[in-house]
Symmetry: C2
Subunit: 368 residues, 2 copies
Amino acid sequence: MYEKRWLKNCVFCANVCIFAFESYKQPMKRITIIDIAEALNITPSTVSRALAGNLRVSESTRRRVMDKARELGYQPNIVAASLRKGKSDTIGMMVPRINRHFFSHVISAVEEVLNPAGYNLLICQSHERVLREEQAINVLLKNRVAGIIMSHAMEMSDFSHILKATSENIPVVQFDRVTKQVPGPRIINDNFSGGYMAVKHLIRSGYKRIGHLTGSLSVNVYQDRFRGYKYALDEASMLIDATHTYQGAITRDTALNCARELLEKHQVDAIFCAGDYAAIGAMEAIREKGLKVADDIGVVGFANEPFADIISPGLTTVEQNAYEIGIRAANSLIQLISRSGYTAIQTEDVVPVRLLVRDSSMKNGSNV
Amino acid sequence: MYEKRWLKNCVFCANVCIFAFESYKQPMKRITIIDIAEALNITPSTVSRALAGNLRVSESTRRRVMDKARELGYQPNIVAASLRKGKSDTIGMMVPRINRHFFSHVISAVEEVLNPAGYNLLICQSHERVLREEQAINVLLKNRVAGIIMSHAMEMSDFSHILKATSENIPVVQFDRVTKQVPGPRIINDNFSGGYMAVKHLIRSGYKRIGHLTGSLSVNVYQDRFRGYKYALDEASMLIDATHTYQGAITRDTALNCARELLEKHQVDAIFCAGDYAAIGAMEAIREKGLKVADDIGVVGFANEPFADIISPGLTTVEQNAYEIGIRAANSLIQLISRSGYTAIQTEDVVPVRLLVRDSSMKNGSNV
DNA sequence: TTGTAAGCGTTATCAA
DNA sequence: TTGATAACGCTTACAA
């Protein structure tokens, strides 16, 4: 299998070693359609057509081309094809962080639709940084992606970098964190209902003064959860006190601090957190003060991170349907690409959420 | 700014709407170096050189080219450049799952090195499926990536798909789940020491019969942790009973079942789990039996997933230095690419791990 | 320092 | 049904 002369001592591991061979070997010449054509005495165009499944090619040559391609180990060069076609089959996907439960599941769902359709994903993270989001979009554009599926970094206000894409007719589908300033479909969670259900549930459980820890209200996601929160309070004729809502309290640490204040200054007896990490911070603050989660202070989170049902007491939280969002976003994008023109459809697709009731919101174990 | 005639009612939102304009507008012609050249009355080659920072171009034209490029909104076409150069600046990254704490942090670290160096990442998940790993590798090859950084799916035994890459001189850096069957550097955790430290710690804490839940022992990662486990037992002259080790018990569910057996049939008083999710399953089994974690049955995990310090009792676990692994893998790859030849260097780079002692392994709160 | 020209591997438009 | 040819946008010897 390997030529004898190469089976000598490897300079690195000092053994007779196939890697010694591998290294000396000339880099394998890459097989192109021209090689196939020459081997078969036909032209590259025919090979190309055969490989592409074009109907204008005889069944026999089609078979011969396929066989030869396999025999030579032909790998199509998508780079060349993309250049020629002016389109790649790469889809850009941009999220704030890939390691958030929600985002990673959206990505998986998107892959499930896009891979079978022949697309592959170029995944970027903005790490919640405006600058990195801009850079990442540029990377995607330079790579001439066929489309973009994205969720914005938190403090975005200028979206011109994305308009660059849409104005070049590269369709953009936004999900979760979206803005109307960018044309194209938006797939979002029913954050309003999520917030509403969460707070209504707290009220029903008997809590009277409900605080709210959330991210920046300039983000649609937090804005909507906040509206749900207010709506539930209002519906129950409860006081809506603006000082009971803390923005920028979405990480564990920031939430810890704000929860301390909420407990100290405002004597709340329940906290609705716009994220599960924040809920963890809130629980810490509660325990720090010698109070009991649930019995003394109710807590509800948002996202159903994997730890929500592991911690004790179990965290009541709002589950988002990441899978559904990913599927819809991917399908939207495929449709846009196939219609390859009007990218400005301003549809908003709202995916239902679900309240998962666990113990953290159950006063004295009461199941209301 | 927008031509008046386009500012009419949008067919979709029925409003006067800039998206109505956006949609009617012809897709912006893409600016190429030829456009810049024509505008400046020079040749494309000069433009190319100027843009590439080539020294053989006068400072003045360089400046003019740069300015004109910015003015016209030029976006280099990497696809064309890659085709011409026969190399892309895309690096393929393949992991079993992007939402594992460890992998997502490795990815971030890799990005931190690669992005500033002008590379971007094509991220794929194998979802622990052999077939998907093969497909993904093919995608990377078809995209002519400049190199691959990867961690294998669990049940891999045939690595010929990856040898396809190395034989085409595409360097492959393996990390975490690695095999000697693939040439190239390997960056791994010190899993042996991790297992050893974990079990030694359990022994010191006073536990006498220590079981082990792990993944397939054909995977280097689990094999090494297992060796550490045995070494620690042996060192303490404790019985090593093969039936106390369960393979294929690495998810929460599978671990739950195996832990039940371990407690029932084998009366262990501690469980070393090769993963934190398994540890959660073990804890469930313990509680199910009316026993107390730590006081009755000690538990140690592996990976320090984000929930490890949130749950109660806190999970003693082995922290892996994902950041360091990512950095080293990325640097290795850059080096290989620049040397663009000998990809067969068989180095193994072992990154230290750290035991994080929390309450789950503390008998009666004793701090030994 | 700049221009000329060829070529990377495809696909698409003709014409045969 | 197949072949000839040009083109996608860029880089790079080589020549000037």
